[in-house]
């Protein structure tokens, strides 16, 4: 296509915004339900952190990490996952599309399939989790005895962006599996929610094989210890040099790009074997 890439991007964003507007308006019709679900999520995540606080009260520290430091990890992954979950809802429920045959309709429209799926749904109710994540992150940043320079804050923003890309990529991967099997593989749920659970704590506290999985297979480490070590002035105590910390957000984007490639393969498989 001769169209300049900027125009195509703006066009895609416009379409995405239109879809999102539709989705949001539909959800806002159910105001009470939205309020209650957000409250429930807020409560759920708050009690989660309450549990961590209680354990710190008993044990004092977690392998050298303080509560405020754990709060940084917890807040980062909470915010990241909430945003990704809200944005990637279309991929989360993709297997229904394949089952019902409605994916054919997506193929009949002159737009990228990934764009259409991603724009399908924007889940508002994740806001409860988002608020709690922001609260914990804010508290952690405030309580930590760290000098928060502008580059560091920028890194936090970048880590969140990279994390959203990473989780988005996991959702895309999960959806791509639907092209090969109708059964929703429990494995993928474990990867998605398991990554969230595991990433709430510094990965260093886990057993080596666990750490390796979340560093090299699903690179949660890129939004966990690798940048955190730099943010918390702990460089030197772990094996990763500073340059890795600064570039760690990119890992999430690379993961997303790889997932989208696999998605394209999945679409190719779908069109050659039919539904």
């Amino acid at each position: 296509m001769a169209e300049p890439i900027w125009n195509r991007f703006a066009d895609a964003v416009r379409l995405y915004a239109q879809y999102s507007g539709v989705s949001l308006r539909a959800q806002m019709q159910y105001k009470f339900s939205f309020f209650i679900m957000s409250l429930a999520q807020l409560l759920a995540t708050a009690t989660e952190f309450l549990g961590i606080w209680a354990l710190f009260g008993r044990f004092g520290s977690l392998k050298g990490w303080t509560l405020a430091e754990v709060g940084l990890f917890y807040g980062l992954i909470g915010v990241t996952f909430a945003i990704a979950d809200a944005l990637a809802r279309g991929f989360d429920t993709f297997s229904e599309l394949v089952k019902s045959g409605d994916f054919d309709r997506i193929l009949l429209r002159p737009r990228s399939t990934a764009l259409q799926i991603s724009a399908r749904d924007l889940l508002l109710t994740r806001v409860g989790r988002l608020v709690q994540g922001i609260a914990v992150l804010g508290w952690a940043i405030h309580s930590l005895p760290v000098l928060w320079t502008l580059p560091k804050l920028a890194l936090i923003a970048a880590v969140i962006a990279g994390g959203v890309a990473l989780f988005y990529g996991i959702f895309v991967l999960q959806a791509t599996l639907s092209f090969w099997t109708i059964e929703t593989l429990e494995i993928m749920n474990v990867v998605t929610y398991g990554s969230t659970e595991a990433g709430q704590y510094p990965l260093t506290i886990y057993r080596p094989w666990f750490r390796a999985f979340f560093t090299f297979v699903v690179p949660v480490a890129s939004i966990n210890v690798i940048p955190a070590n730099l943010l918390l002035d702990r460089i030197g105590t772990s094996g990763w040099p500073a340059i890795c910390a600064w570039s760690s957000p990119l890992v999430g984007f690379i993961f997303l790009a790889a997932s989208l490639q696999l998605w394209r393969c999945g679409v190719g498989k779908y069109t050659s074997t039919g539904s």
């Binding site: 429930a40 044990f59 429990e186």
Partner: protein
């Protein structure tokens, strides 16, 4: 009595069919358990203070929790909530049967069936590979069994109450959505209750939720000596009576409301 047994067994058999779903959850539970164990291992390695529970006991607690996860009253009765949504529950409410009894039997079955499917393989695997210890003594084991029955009854009563609250649409939806979090925390599933600060203990001791997870597990480990069992049983009995009574009362009020409105 035979009516309730029939309802229970029918529901139980139906739920047993969902073998695939039960087995699928196995991987998830395994993963969750492993993470929790690793977290506690890290915590225990970080402090030399004496703790209210030893590490090996905590690990047993965690695996028992994963095995018996389905006991927790997380969901309302899906069929009844569907009926309420479509309005056809009105037919149920005006029937001359002990509706609470039936709903209670179903609630209990809803908890027992998935638990049985999941608990046995999980406990075997955990015992063989993951550090689940046997009960502290055979008396503790038997007492644990009885306590688990009590847990089932308690969970059923809470589930039934949640389902009944759905009849009051707005408030009920709210209760149904907030309950899982409250249950998760106060049952000891999130964190064993002994680890909570001392100031929390009176509250958690007063509430019935610990009877589902925390109390049976601690009996299993021998943490709660036989001398305390009668008092625990009495408290559990009182709560059961209260919850069942509340459930019956709310239900009859719904029925009366319906009759007054003309059905």
């Amino acid at each position: 009595m035979s009516g309730y047994a029939a309802v229970f067994s029918a529901r139980f058999r139906m739920l047993l069919q969902y073998r695939a779903a039960a087995l699928a959850g196995f991987g998830t539970q395994l993963f969750w358990g492993l993470i929790r164990v690793m977290i506690f291992e890290a915590f225990f390695a970080s402090s030399s203070h004496a703790q209210p529970m030893r590490l090996d006991e905590t690990i047993t607690y965690i695996w028992l929790g994963q095995a018996l996860f389905a006991l927790l009253p997380f969901r309302t009765d899906p069929d009844v909530s569907q009926m309420i949504r479509t309005g056809s529950v009105a037919y149920e409410l005006v029937r001359p049967v002990d509706l609470y009894g039936f709903w209670y039997a179903r609630a209990v079955a809803d908890r027992v069936a998935p638990t049985v499917l999941r608990a046995i393989p999980m406990m075997i695997v955990a015992w063989l590979f993951l550090g689940l210890r046997p009960p502290a003594s055979w008396e503790c084991g038997v007492a644990w069994g009885i306590a688990t029955v009590g847990a089932v009854l308690m969970s059923g009563a809470i589930t039934a109450l949640m389902t009944i609250s759905l009849l009051w649409t707005m408030a009920g939806d709210g209760i149904a959505r907030l309950m899982p979090t409250i249950v998760l925390f106060f049952s000891g599933m999130l964190v064993p209750l002994v680890f909570l600060p001392a100031s929390f203990q009176p509250i958690v001791d007063a509430l019935p939720f610990r009877d589902i997870i925390d109390v049976p597990f601690r009996i299993y480990m021998g943490h709660l000596p036989p001398s305390q069992w009668p008092a625990l049983l009495a408290q559990e009995g009182i709560w059961l009576a209260v919850l069942i009574g509340l459930g019956r009362w709310f239900l009859s009020r719904s029925m009366r409301r319906l009759v007054v409105q003309g059905g």
